[in-house]
Symmetry: C3
Subunit: 443 residues, 3 copies
């Protein structure tokens, strides 16, 4: 029947049909797929698995990450299934489901040791037809999610600067003026099966930590405030006493820079975070129920990215925290990490990557979780020949790497905890090389 | 080379290519994605998780659902991955995989308490090139599935009227005449690890419940017949004796109305269901192996939907059941639920929803599963301000809700079972408000 | 604005847009979905689940598969999510995630007995812009995967000829000349929690088996060499002694024929495999850590496919192995399977399938895993009326089958192991019919 139509009619039909097909093929409407994944082998000189991960040092147990390059023994992945719709009135909705898995097994059947689970399942509405005024650009959401804005990270340390996730509802982009935009939310998190009887470790209780958030943007400046309450968390037994926090405050002042500290092209982010009580877990907001009612923590996070020349990239970072009365009245945790990733771009598909990390820590645990106090330093240096589809920039993925990594640490750090990666009962010794291969991808 | 082609050739090429692309973009061919999901926080006045769910009353243990609005504490989701193909001879095939998860944890990592599993994996062929006569419009299927037609529900109670799921094969739409269409199927279900020794609870047996189904449609009238047999289920120990049913019969007569009970525009469905032996679980056909050989149940289900005015929607429902000799010779279970959901549409994106439920029950358990006999009533009323991309109709989703819910019940109901949501050992008390937020979506 | 454009401009725009949309709709770019799945009911004459699976005989415990038609009691599925990208420089990348599940439960909720897990997560780059010379056509990969080329199977036995999977990195299609192409890879596999103390079974150790592979193609001839090492696997206690292999060699010579053994149109594959030490598991390369340091195995695998007439298809197969000192010094395992699948194509959607299997085995276990030595034969014959969207060829799927299967075996085989499908404590007896229905699909 096409023959009976004029060229004009056939063109108009094609244009109309293609306009329907196009947003579905591009993921603007209907289904789309996103991913973060890494999978690698990390071996010691005996060709056996070596322990690793950015949180392998004693300071790692309280958030002190070190560099991740050549330091990841796991397969971790997030499969994100999106479904986007546009209503006739123009309102957009976005459903997101994230399934994630984590394992250190190299086998291709991990039903026994995998961890497949649902990390996000939420809907978000934007462009709401009937919203106006300060809500004109607002988006609303409910369900289980990672906060849209509160999970920006120092990629090279595998550490978010702050991370807020859980189950709740909220509103984004309430626009009070050209220079002030705010997000408000309520998140709940579950504190499950904590000991609640000093005499009997097997008696446990559950509660919920509810987190109210105001996250405000004044141009490049971000001011985040969180208040939280976990009713009856004061029944929790930590270190033999019931002094756990029931409430918490958490605040962050951050600057999102659009140059490399004003020195050169690039970017930087700097943040200072302060929390008390349940808010004293400065990164994973509201996720640690063991915190003492007098806990106080302050964390500083800074990183930047820039090109040193046409082919050399440079990304330095600092992460440091001091915290007191954290789990047991009188304890003290102090640690600081310097990290720098450097890359030399050598061809369309190949670059050399280098990463150096130095961490110093002074942890006075007072016996929390049978951990011993330690004071010392840890260093790691990694070389990683890296293949990628297109070299250029800090965020291009996927990458396929091979790597060699040398790490060394003060003997005292080995006494921190039994079962520890660096511990005396581990095969992993100071001043050792490790080797391996890894892929990393996101899209 | 396009330049060498005539406009006619280029148009024809475009039309042909677009005809191939279009069904893939729309999901008629290739991959498509469907979902049901809800995720919400349900809190009591102390800001701690409250128990909930449509089956939280004593009657709920035998299928007596109450209203779900403001009464769901979980994240439940179904991710449905479809793949459709059309053979050269025109035969269509549809592969469907459903992965589902359920948890009440609010956390974003639930590897320990999630329940990710595969609920469906089947293929269905339709438009079969070589089928003719009464099979001309027939579809055949095999695998693990929810029956295509036997899972219609009273949405507001989260209760199917009947549900048939399991592993088997069948044929749909055998068309005997304009006024008679039938589906036939064989479903198997597994009865796993039931106690089979009166002396020793740890000795268990397994068997299969096989269900033969004829599901017939005479215009708006549906007549369903199921016969089932679970060989050696009579070895099962229930209440200290071995009198469990080995066979069962189940039948349903239903009417699918295309008005609101003939009174106004809208819809209604009414069904009466009767079952004996293994068929005495009237909803989840063949899913309960504890039923007594003399068990008899009769259930009535009715609901309708209509607009009371331009902006007020109304959906009342009744669900009631009587059953005898259900698990233990001489027991009696009787319950009835009235439910009504009302909504007032207020703007393009906002409506007020209200739901009221009243349930009365008289359960004589004779000690089955250590449950006590109870006789009493339960009521719940919920107000839920609701946002949605496009207000209008009963089935538009997604929705984002906040809600407050008041529930009250007779004290006697608290003695039914230990660990019960309403039980004496629960924090949840009669005449209490609960609060929360939730998203719900399907597509 | 389309009206202001010339026909030429509108055609050019349409062609450009369609060129972007087309590869996304066809799966050449962006997301695509692949699957293998089967789901079936397998019943004995009492209408209860019968045991089954190609590895149900004693020989099956050491890889001796028998025919799968009418012999599969499970729901097994692989959901494969792909994401393909093409960089501006032309380099292609392919991310693949495979989630799999396996269960014998017929129920639609298998959170307790399912096995959902991640089997593959890797990236592969091809068409690398900066690769040249022998690497011009090469592809590189890293992550967890099934090897691209080392998982070709005898479909009717559900047995790969060789299978290599695990976590590593490698390069495909290094092209030395027109007649020589090679793949090289390093795979790691985890040997988890093996007993490492002769006195105390609860003391366990872990290690990694690292497999270096060279897989070479000279036209139709394939020569595969694998060397492997699992440091400290000699600590493993097998049969009360510590003589497990720490290293292994594995090699395969195969021919991929493009006719039915030169006799008629069709295909055939023939392979001879030899392995020692950890390489003595001839199929699942490097996957069995219990192998003795002196273990030696040799396997032969042959199959072909051809049409006997216009409508009769024929696919015979032989799989046989001999192995010595396999787990315990002095043990001997010998088995041979003949299998043939025959199909008669009867209409556009229907064919009759037949399968016969005969297996002979002589297993001298020396008490390994409390297994007894057995010597005897097993036979199975299956008839399966089969529906499919389009009849024709050996590889057309999906299929919906019903089947009846008769199997018989020597009584001696029943003494092999307790808990065995054919064992004395099983309801499954020799000379028995089994019945069922199943779907199978891949795309």
């Amino acid at each position: 029947q096409a023959q009976d139509q004029t060229v004009e009619e056939r063109l108009a039909t094609l244009e109309a049909k293609l306009a329907e097909v196009e947003p579905k093929a591009s993921g603007l409407e209907g289904f789309s797929f996103n991913t973060y994944a890494r999978s690698g082998l990390l071996l010691n000189g005996d060709l056996q698995s070596a322990p690793g991960g950015p949180y392998l040092t004693p300071a790692g147990s309280v958030g002190g990450a070190v560099g991740r390059l050549g330091n990841e023994p796991d397969t971790y992945l997030e499969a994100i299934l999106n479904y986007k719709q546009v209503a006739e009135n123009g309102t957009k909705s976005h459903y997101r489901l994230m399934i994630a898995d984590s394992t250190t097994s190299s086998n291709d059947w991990t039903a026994g040791d995998g961890a497949l689970n649902v990390r996000q399942a939420y809907v978000e509405f934007s462009n709401l037809a009937s919203f106006s005024g300060i809500f004109d650009d607002a988006a609303i959401w409910a369900g289980k999610r990672f906060d849209r804005d509160l999970n920006f990270d120092i990629h090279w340390l595998d550490s978010d600067i702050v991370f807020l996730g859980g189950l709740g509802a909220g509103v984004y982009d309430v626009t009070f003026s050209d220079s002030l935009k705010s997000n408000f939310s309520l998140y709940g998190r579950s504190f499950l099966e904590f000991p609640s009887d000093i005499q009997d470790q097997d008696i446990t209780a559950d509660t919920d930590n509810l987190i109210l958030t105001a996250n405000n943007y004044f141009g490049n400046v971000q001011w985040l405030i969180n208040g939280m309450k976990a009713q009856e968390n004061d029944l929790r037994v930590v270190g033999g006493v019931t002094e756990a926090a029931e409430t918490g405050l958490h605040t962050m002042l951050a600057y999102h820079g659009d140059s490399f500290f004003g020195i050169s092209d690039g970017s930087f982010k700097a943040a200072i975070i302060h929390g008390t009580g349940l808010g004293a877990e400065t990164k994973n907001i509201g996720a640690d129920g063991d915190l003492h009612e007098d806990a106080v923590s302050t964390r500083v996070a800074v990183y930047g990215t820039t090109y040193l020349s046409e082919t050399w990239r440079f990304a330095p970072a600092i992460l440091a925290e001091t915290s007191e009365d954290r789990y047991i009245k009188g304890d003290e945790y102090q640690w600081l990490t310097f990290n720098a990733r450097v890359a030399q771009e050598l061809s369309a598909n190949f670059e050399m990557q280098y990463e150096a990390s130095w961490q110093t820590m002074d942890l006075t645990t007072l016996g929390y979780q049978s951990r011993n106090s330690v004071d010392g330093d840890y260093s790691r240096f990694t070389v990683a020949p890296t293949f990628k589809p297109q070299v250029g920039g800090f965020w291009n993925r996927p990458e396929i790497r091979v790597f060699a990594s040398y790490s060394t640490w003060d003997d005292e750090l080995e006494t921190y905890a039994s079962g520890d990666a660096l511990g005396v009962d581990s095969d992993f010794e100071s001043s050792q090389w490790t080797f391996g291969t890894q892929m990393e991808i996101w899209f």
